[in-house]
Chain length 614, copies 2
């Protein structure tokens, strides 16, 4: 089967034309030389975890941010990289496929060959399994021809998504040594990039010269932090899902007899569900983060949904569309606790058949209350990251079932007088994941591929390639790289003094920020969405003409650009230095001291652990 | 709720631009005057049923075909319609919503107002229920503004899809009389157009002046016959489904661990499944028509699928994509017989709970063999057309379940040595049905709307608006109308001489022609599709640039244009008449007689009932 990888294939008319699309590069990456500027050393966003992280990553913690600038940029301390020896680079797909992945490889290949035609790019076949087994395919322009701007991961395939056990890390190390790789590029999400950081540390410790570079590619959109604004694939997934959700909304409004419960692939965090809601305006969305914050039980959720159905029925509306994130089930407190018990028993080796008899009384009561199909799904073995098999647990069906029971009860009791409640359930994910990537994802992935090369050229290890200011046109994009360790946090489990136990440092999935602008936009419109059916149809993904350049609503609203602001701050600091240099008047110096004392006071207060909210 | 119909709404950027798209008209419909040419009287395609049909439709059977031509066309016997008194027209959506429906109304409105600004178009609210209850909305340009080129039926809504019982027909008659309608336009599929024909006959009998016109709009694509090449909505549905199927194919190839079983909405006939297969090249498709023709049992189908899985496993392939038509279950002989028994018992008033005990021994055995979820679904009450609730019966899950059991059995027995079989099931339909219509469907529907007006202007009753030569560019399209009774057939049930019993004449859903060119194209490629993973991704529906003008593969391959050939034949007959007119030589006359004798001989033979194959 391996012989099937990278083979040219028949493309449809549209695919052919897409394969001829050439993404541009931001000005800073054009030309043969690139300037790298380093900021101060990075700290972790989790001050209380900083010590743990620095102990776990002695070689790779505390490295500076890197910014890539035009060779002509006038920055005094920047280093111009103009020598480009031939290098050998390996690249591997890790984790769930995400539209745009192929373009990272194309961008990387293009950057390698532009700077030295003798450089070599090796793709590992079948994901991390190929990395361990040293199965490679040399990437060439011919091989890329029918994969440029195309969806899926089928150029190289993927299998398991972790590089974590000692055997796995050792195998990866052997491969990099055997193949004499100067760099290993890991394409993936939070888990894979945590692994990348660990690999970088191990390689540094073992004095292996291979530099590890991560690239943020995950449809979940949950590899998000001050350095990373968006992930490759998220834009496409949200556009394709929004197209389908809108179609279902139109359908609901035409038939006027069904409630559609749609669960959206994207793991536990609700980024995909939030973005799709803002694009297509369904009647309701239940965000896992809201459920967790308000500790809503299954009973609360059912009641909330039934009340909504009833309010709409009073306006003679018997249809609606409700979105759920894939992993909602893990955000519901009592179900999460039940899952923890089940997983504990599974780990102890109990067979699935007698787990229900081993549960604690309350867990057993909840378990018996649930319909049979959900019980079976909750008993599935947990995934490698200890989460439940979220794609397999049909929370949409569970909620639809509970709402139907409750509405029938209300109907019987006479508290509800409308028509019978009818639900149709969907899980959208597989049908979006393999899509042709949007123009945004094609461009973003291609640029990240280029950056991955420059990270290597700058000799950096354990970094993630980053692009910020993404909401603006491509020629305004800022390219850089950040140490992955700076994105890590340490989770604490248990409670009470001394009883707390710290997890391993890791990049954790970002959750939807309930104080953020995107969520605010949702809450402002929630009542209108619920009652007024102001469905919006962004239409199918377009590559030409209107809509082709649309960007994610959350990306545009959130206005992150942390990296840009860091640079802006540095300009201010430099200005102060220039104005207040030795020789300036006593008054200027006094003013500067008093002003800076005030600034540092405020900042110390704001950034004390009590305010960190981690 | 009625107050929500026709309200302007917020459109997305792409929707707005689509709402400004103006379909063109074929040359014959441009200008203020249109010429109508009538062919000979039509017969039914079902010679043995002709008598029954003519008896049931004494007023509307045997009417001629109508062709609409440019006013300047030189056709001797054609009638120019240049007077256009103000008329009142009603229009109603019947049955499942289908993308493009709104454009029929727009085209009709535009034609009415172009020919007389005093004409009125009334839309019935909530489908046939609105027709019975005289609930109308006057269609204006303002109301249409945000519905032009948009999906769904939400401008007017729809409810039940039949106009059949005496009460329903009487209510429709009263409405048409009360509202003084000159014409009633029915937008729908096979069932609705059968109802339209019945209504036309009843109106003629009752001397009601309202002319009934049908328009072929159904995503199933099964209102197909010598007069009708395609249905509005089919093109869009197949494109959206093919996009999703292709994405799933890419996904299968990237993850390499799942078999996807995808059931496609489209009722019992397999047109949607066939078209999507030709667009996206999945590994397998099971057509209901093949299953029925070869009398394949559930056991046969399972074996066929397992053998395919095993052959692929021998090539180290553990993924695949398999398509099924929505109503496959009714094509499997033993399940169909079981359904007939169940429906019979339901009609006799037996409660769902004790039906299984009333089944005949063999039916009971099959029933008990089936998994619980399917049993529940088979017990659902049949639909108004006596078919099972096909959308609710998850045949994809049944087959995936049976294949999994059989593969596990083979694994145990050692006859299969590959990896464990894993399936993921989908039902695609709702997420495509509400889509923005493709350019083809926008154009086709708009032109049909115009034709519906000209049918009325020509004073015709019981006709279906038709466009042929659709595979060619719009300026080559041929516009016409055909009596719906000419599309009817009479089904015979039971067997043995004298034991047969005839059904009512009706337009029956066309099945996929197993001798046709589209099916031939499939069989030629089936082996390659199965083994070589030559997945093809037509991409998302495009409105601009490459792909925007793509047409359905089956439409282009089938090369129907029956209406065009009828006209061509008439030209030949006229030529013979011209050459052999009184005064020609004895030799020419002799040659003509001998040649025509041969021709009529051949034709009599070919068209004898023994060859009709009905």
């Amino acid at each position: 089967m391996d012989s099937d990888f990278g083979v040219p294939r028949e493309l449809s008319h549209l695919q052919k034309l897409r394969s001829q699309y050439q993404p541009e590069l931001p000005p800073c990456l054009q030309g043969k030389s690139v300037r790298v500027e380093f900021s101060d050393a990075t700290a972790s966003t989790d001050p209380s975890g900083a010590h743990t992280i620095s102990r776990s990553f002695p070689h790779t913690y505390g490295q500076p941010l890197a910014h890539f600038l035009r060779a002509s940029a006038k920055v005094p301390d920047a280093q111009i990289i103009s020598e480009h020896p031939a290098v050998r680079v390996g690249v591997v797909f890790c984790g769930r496929q995400s539209p745009g992945g192929h373009n990272v490889i194309w961008g990387l290949h293009n950057a390698l060959k532009t700077h030295n035609t003798s450089s070599t790019l090796l793709g590992f076949l079948g994901g991390s399994e190929g990395l361990f087994a040293q199965k490679t395919l040399e990437i060439t322009d011919e091989i890329l021809a029918t994969y440029k701007n195309q969806g899926g991961y089928d150029l190289l395939g993927r299998t398991k998504d972790q590089i974590r056990t000692t055997e796995q890390v050792t195998a990866a190390l052997s491969t990099c040594k055997a193949l004499k790789l100067d760099s290993l590029v890991i394409i993936g999400g939070v888990t894979s990039n945590t692994d990348a950081a660990q690999l970088a540390e191990t390689f540094a410790e073992a004095k292996c010269p291979t530099k590890v570079v991560g690239v943020p590619v995950t449809l979940n959109g949950d590899l998000k932090n001050q350095f990373v604004e968006a992930n490759v694939g998220f834009d496409t997934i949200c556009k394709v899902n929004s197209q389908l959700i809108s179609n279902v909304c139109t359908d609901a409004l035409s038939a006027e007899k069904y409630y559609y419960f749609i669960r959206l692939m994207g793991r536990k965090a609700s980024h995909v569900a939030l973005e799709c809601t803002l694009q297509s305006h369904p009647n309701m969305v239940i965000l896992g983060e809201e459920v967790a914050a308000e500790k809503l039980t299954l009973f609360d959720l059912t009641k909330q949904l039934c009340d909504a159905v009833q309010t709409r029925a009073e306006q003679d509306k018997y249809h609606g569309v409700i979105l759920l994130p894939e992993g909602l089930i893990e955000s519901i407190p009592e179900v999460y606790a039940l899952l923890q018990e089940i997983h504990g028993l599974l780990r102890e080796g109990h067979s699935v058949d007698n787990i229900s008899s081993k549960l604690s009384p309350w867990a057993s009561a909840l378990f018996e209350f649930l319909p049979l199909f959900i019980r079976k799904q909750l008993l599935l073995h947990p995934e490698s990251d200890d989460s439940a098999q979220l794609s397999q647990i049909e929370t949409e069906k569970l909620l639809a079932h509970l709402v139907e029971e409750e509405m029938n009860k209300r109907l019987k009791e006479g508290t509800y007088k409308g028509k019978k409640f009818n639900a149709i359930c969907h899980f959208f994910g597989y049908q979006a994941r393999g899509s042709l990537p949007s123009k945004f994802d094609c461009d973003y992935a291609y640029v990240l591929g280029h950056i991955a090369y420059h990270v290597l050229a700058a000799g950096l290890n354990g970094y993630l390639a980053t692009v910020t200011n993404l909401k603006n046109p491509l020629n305004k994009w800022r390219c850089g790289a950040a140490p992955i360790t700076a994105m890590m946090t340490v989770k604490r489990y248990g409670s009470g003094p001394g009883g707390a136990f710290s997890g391993k440092p890791a990049v954790h999935p970002a959750t939807v920020d309930l104080k953020g602008k995107s969520y605010e936009l949702l809450t402002q419109n929630a009542a209108k969405f619920l009652l007024e059916d102001i469905y919006r149809n962004p239409g199918p993904l377009q590559f030409d003409g209107p809509g082709a350049d649309a960007k994610a609503v959350t990306l545009c609203v959130e206005d992150q650009d942390y990296m840009g602001r860091i640079k802006e701050l540095e300009v201010y600091l430099d200005k102060v230095r220039t104005i207040v240099k030795p020789g300036c008047s006593q008054d200027v110096l006094k003013a500067a001291l008093s002003a800076m004392a005030a600034v540092t006071n405020i900042l110390s207060m704001v950034s004390s652990p009590a305010n960190s909210g981690v």
